[in-house]
Symmetry: C2
Subunit: 138 residues, 2 copies
């Protein structure tokens, strides 16, 4: 198991939160990552509060802009509404973060599963490097 | 200044978050606290992720039930929709926590300001004790 999501979603609340625990590791030179997704309700943002470990939050807008936000203990990263997002564990330890979003935000995985994200995060001699995804198809 | 709120609310997002930094201290034997409030939109919950320090989250339902949740680094406390809430710094250091709620949840301070909350958190020989509020008027 590469990552585990603990969901404290409450049906009676508009706000959902939980914890994601990602193992360290790589497939080839690509670090372990979560499944990239959009929210079904496009107006819904999200926040990631990193508890331990180190990684990158990879963001991609509908218009094709890519951004990364460092994930390290004590930082709170914001995912703007309608940006695809994926977490990448670039460190030697587990990456643990709490996430917060609307209970009914919904996950839309199909588009990213099909076409990939425009950027990859690769291990280049022990350093995390953001690179173009050669398998990306628009 | 007893406490400070840094608000990262974004108009274009449904989710608001920020950081509250509370000084340690007391007024008489009552620890420093935030202004208790309900949310204007009664369906809106909230989550508090404690970064540093130690305290109590005091919750009170519309029906008059009181609860406390310990605030300490790494814990995420949930405020159910339509429960009044207040944070109390019971420790010797700053209490710092990140909060997450709907951008349009809204703050309703009047009711608690007028009648108080049913419980107080008091210093009894260096220990935080939850006690009935003698000034509470229903």
């Amino acid at each position: 198991m590469v990552y585990e999501v603990i969901d404290y979603r409450k049906a009676e609340s508009d706000l959902a939160f939980g914890t994601t625990i990602m193992s360290p590791g790589k497939v080839g030179d690509e670090y372990y990552l979560t499944r990239g997704h959009f929210h079904i309700r496009r107006e819904c943002g999200e926040a990631y509060y990193t508890q331990s470990g180190s990684g990158l939050l990879l963001l991609e807008s509908r218009g094709g802009e890519s951004r990364t936000v460092e994930m390290k203990p004590g930082t709170c990263a914001f995912i703007p509404p309608d940006w695809a997002h994926r977490s990448i564990n670039t460190g030697p330890d587990k990456l643990v973060f709490a996430w917060f979003c609307a209970t009914d935000a919904g996950h839309e995985y199909g588009e990213i599963a099909e076409r990939g994200m425009r950027k990859l995060v690769l291990d280049r001699g022990g350093k995390a490097v953001v690179a173009d995804n050669p398998r990306y198809s628009s």
